[in-house]
Amino acid sequence: MDPVTHPAGAAGPLVEADGLMVHFPILGGILQRRRGSVRAVDGVSLSIQRGETVGLVGESGCGKSTLGRAMIKLREPTGGSARFDGRDLARLSARELRRLRRRMQIIFQDPYGSLDPRMSVGDIVAEPIQTHRLASGRAKHERVRELLRLVGLDPVFAARYPHEFSGGQRQRIGVARALAVEPEFIVCDEPISALDVSIQGQVLNLLIDLRRELGLTYLFIAHDLAVVRHVSDRVGVMYLGRLVEIGASRRVYALPAHPDTRALLSAVPVADPAVERRRRRVILAGDVPSPANPPPGCRFHTRCWLYERLGRPENCRTVEPELRPVGADQRAACHYAEAALTSDVGVVRPADAAPRDAH
């Protein structure tokens, strides 16, 4: 793809969140007065380098999708800042923002809901090309065909409508539309979780191939930890609006430093009966607390297995832990990350690398 439209990338991250917050008001009473707020994203700092893929995992309601949207200003942050290529998105004029939008796109989870059923596939893919006046007439038509080929669809499909396609094909259409404006950064928000198992791999491979061919930068949001490890250079774990761990994928999956990361890993089912029989699971108690009223101190302490094991240390209830370095290219927000690191909870070893059941 033609890189001319992209300003030569200076050093520094392509995308950056600094203390980013997104609070939603809770309205109540007949006057609909503000009664409080849901702190969906509550002070997250995260930077993504050019060409890098950062994965974001966490339970539903942890704020990972809201963070992804706020980083490209699809959601208005209520605090902190989001920067793209060094420019603060909040300080741009509408026109400047519109120009910048071209360079950042999003792919949604639901390939059914995100495509207009009354538009042909060709029109769906062409729309952003028109909006940004990138091509018209024959050139536009040719560009749509090229994009469909790029995502593995037959260009003759341009005349058809979304309902004629399977879920995997619709997700390809969504990818083609996102690529139409030649973006540099794509937020992939649960891009494969609505798809069938045999189709998920196809779309995942497509996203990985496109990243290499087009030099794309991804924020890859998903609840499936194995999928996130497969695509990500670095991975971040969120809990109740906060980033609780971030680091190189290799490192975080091999030596998780936050008890929540270990609990999430421990809960993932593995398609090997021998591994499943041998695993020791920590099962988190209860559900995620309300983000409108997060627990004091460490937000995770009400469900934390390590807190229980350590005899409920007081500072977990009173002092919110900072995200601090705990290893090479790894940070965690836990007072007892060193204890978490030495635990064997949650780490899955291959069946053949571990001793067979002794009993």
């Binding site: 339970e59 045999s198 196809q202 999430l264 209860g286």
Partner: protein, 372 residues
């Protein structure tokens, strides 16, 4: 182990009185007859034979379930695994005679439950049997729970109707059941409505309702698909411990091979309306003899395998089940396809070298086949 994954030890073991309140003589005979341990004569709890279910739609006849054949033993957990549209849910609905008719119809086969062919029962007899002997847990508890009725009433109504319990006895039983499924302060929660519970807690309530009459079979259709992975682990742990303790057989329908690996003793893999492989869980995952099973296992990244390189994917997508091809239905997507795969229908045949009871529907892995 921390958390509330297991049921408290204080929970009452469900013990059933005789089925005194069942209204029809046929029904009484049925419920009395079913479940008599002395009368099993080596048969299985559920014997599904050549079950076929079709849907008659304007676009044609959809062969949703095509000669499906499997057994489920007393107390066993069997997985029915496959992608959406493979017929796994319709198989479960057919067993319970819950297929909407029209457009659906069970067009052939037998479903022998504890010695009785369910397909020959009247709908009234079937209704009695369902509440009493077969429990259901579906993916979305919100769509199966009544939003306008307290959970206590929903549980005790089932117990009262099928077990003939008095109202106070049914209410006590409802609290016992809530406690058994790990809901804290069960007596206080009886008066709550479904929306007052979280997704995971609602699924626990569904399990309590399903177990209210101490069924012999629990059909769980994607019971954790809508839940977070941590809550999924809680619910799976609960189902596992309850089925062991109550010796309830479970037919677990899932698209998630990891869940099947952790929960089931045996697994049936379905593709395009047919069972394509079946066997003990270790044999299915360790020595799959149907390329589709192998490909499914390979097509997802796994936590127990170092990442790297491209995923081996299954190209194309599952076939349309209106007028499906008579030959191997996976052949158009199969890397090992040969001419015979497009010419003749492979049968589900034994693979004794790859495990007891292991069977696969594949020309390539038959004796003398070309797939190693």
């Amino acid at each position: 182990m921390s958390g509330d994954g297991g049921a408290p030890a204080t929970a009452a073991e469900p013990r059933l009185p005789e089925a005194a309140h069942i209204s029809t003589p046929e029904g009484r005979r049925l419920v009395a007859q079913i479940g008599d341990e002395a009368d099993r004569h080596g048969r299985k709890l559920l014997e599904v034979r050549n079950l076929s279910t079709q849907f008659f739609t304007p676009d044609g006849v959809v062969h949703a379930v095509d000669e499906v054949d499997f057994d489920l033993d007393y107390g066993e957990t069997l997985g029915l695994v496959g992608e959406s549209g493979c017929g796994k849910s319709v198989t479960a609905l057919s067993i319970a005679r819950l297929v909407a008719e029209p457009p659906g119809r069970i067009v052939g086969g037998e479903v022998v439950f504890d010695g009785i062919d369910l397909l020959r029962l009247s709908s009234e007899e079937m209704r009695l049997l369902r509440g009493r002997r077969i429990g259901f847990v579906f993916q979305d508890p919100m769509s199966s729970l009544n939003p306008t009725m307290t959970v206590g009433r929903q549980i005790s109504e089932s117990a009262a109707a099928h077990l003939g319990l008095s109202r106070p006895a049914a209410s006590t039983r409802a609290a016992d059941l809530l406690s058994m499924v790990g809901i804290p302060r069960p007596a206080d929660r009886l008066g709550d409505y479904p929306h007052q519970f979280s997704g995971g807690m609602r699924q626990r309530v569904m399990i309590a309702i399903a177990l209210a009459c101490d069924p012999m079979l629990l059909i769980a259709d994607e019971p954790t698909t809508a839940l977070d992975v941590t809550v999924q682990a809680q619910i799976m742990e609960l189902l596992r411990s309850l089925s062991e303790r109550l010796r309830t057989a479970v037919l677990l329908i899932t698209h998630d091979l990891g869940i099947a690996a952790g929960m089931c003793q045996r697994v049936c893999v379905m593709y395009a309306g047919r069972i394509v492989e079946r066997g003990l869980v270790d044999d299915i995952f360790g020595r799959p003899r149907m390329p589709y099973t192998r490909a499914l296992l390979d097509s997802r990244p796994r936590l127990d395998v170092e990442p790297g390189g491209r995923l081996r994917t299954i190209e194309g997508f599952p076939p349309d089940l209106v007028d499906p091809r008579p030959a191997c239905r996976f052949a158009p997507r199969c890397a090992h396809r040969r001419a015979v795969c497009d010419e003749a229908k492979p049968d589900l045949t034994p693979r004794p070298a790859d495990g007891e009871g292991h069977a696969a529907r594949c020309w390539g892995t038959e004796a003398g086949g070309w797939i190693p």
